[in-house]
């Protein structure tokens, strides 16, 4: 998409910094980079499932106007994800950091970081009651992260 293209104009740098109108409630963006997001994705999915599905459904039903009409649902999604990250940072910062630094050093491959993932998952489950569940694993098989 559009994210990484450098603005190259002759006259000036045309970066639009106008904030949203005040009628729209502000929300703090998550601001996490890819590794912490990947590391916490299953917990974000576990806690924010309803908000996420609401948002995607809203956009689906909006018929191409979802970007404008689903701002409210979008704010809920972002707030929920931020709350998960804040909680993980509060209770499991050491394990969390160990895991995402491992991911960062291993090309973001989850199966290289099981040693760090186990204590991390346990800590999150004990403190936040969020569990990593992979949907669609064949019946009778142990999910890969528990092997």
């Amino acid at each position: 998409m559009s994210g990484s293209r450098h603005p190259q104009f002759n006259q000036t740098v045309l970066i639009d910094k106008t904030p949203l109108p005040t009628s729209i409630p502000p929300v703090q963006e998550v601001g996490a980079t890819s590794a912490p997001l990947l590391s916490s994705s299953y917990f974000i999915g576990a806690r924010c499932k309803d908000y996420n599905e609401d948002y995607i459904l809203c956009k689906h039903e909006a018929g191409g106007r979802g970007e404008v009409e689903c701002l409210k649902e979008g704010r809920k999604v972002t707030r929920c994800a931020s709350s998960v990250l804040a909680d993980i940072n509060k209770y499991c910062l050491k394990e969390f950091r160990a895991h995402w630094e491992c991911l960062e050093n291993n090309n973001h491959r989850l199966f290289h970081c099981r040693a760090q993932e186990k204590p991390y998952n346990k800590c999150v489950f004990d403190n936040l009651k969020l569990e990593k569940v992979i949907p669609g694993v064949p019946k009778g098989e142990t999910p890969v992260h528990l092997k």
């Binding site: 639009d16 929300v27 994705s41 974000i44 999915g45 979008g74 704010r75 999604v77 992979i134």
Partner: protein, 127 residues
């Protein structure tokens, strides 16, 4: 004249076989061993493929869980730019009579811009 005849009791046996000891096992055993090795190999390949499927599933769901979050953030940013552009247009064109505001496309749809100049931070500083 007496005809030349074989000696009484016949000739002795003629050695026509090589007098070398047979090495190794019976050939059928080698065939069996090859079959066993191949079977084990295919078992491992199947196991590995299934494992890769599970790894892919894990990765896919990790991304699926993040999509609404990332999409919400980028949508908000695009809507912010769109609203700013709208306000700018209204300010610029307020004196022009009959000016049609809003989307240049013949549709209500929100059209994502092809390129969005963004602020760069960290390692991707522009040169």
């Amino acid at each position: 004249m007496v005809q030349d005849l074989p000696p009484t009791g016949g000739y002795g046996p003629i050695q026509y076989k090589r007098n070398v000891p047979a090495r190794g096992f019976k050939p059928s055993y080698y065939l069996l061993a090859m079959g066993a090795i191949c079977a084990y190999g295919f078992y491992e390949v199947t196991r590995g493929n299934r494992k890769q499927v599970e790894y892919s599933r894990e990765k896919a769901w990790a991304r699926i869980h993040l999509i609404p979050l990332l999409e919400a953030e980028s949508d908000r940013d695009h809507v912010r730019r769109m609203m700013a552009a709208d306000a700018r247009e209204r300010e610029l064109m307020k004196d022009v009579k009959g000016w049609k505001y809003g989307s240049v496309y013949n549709s209500d749809r929100f059209v994502r811009p092809t390129y969005t100049p963004m602020e760069t931070t960290g390692v991707h500083q522009p040169r």
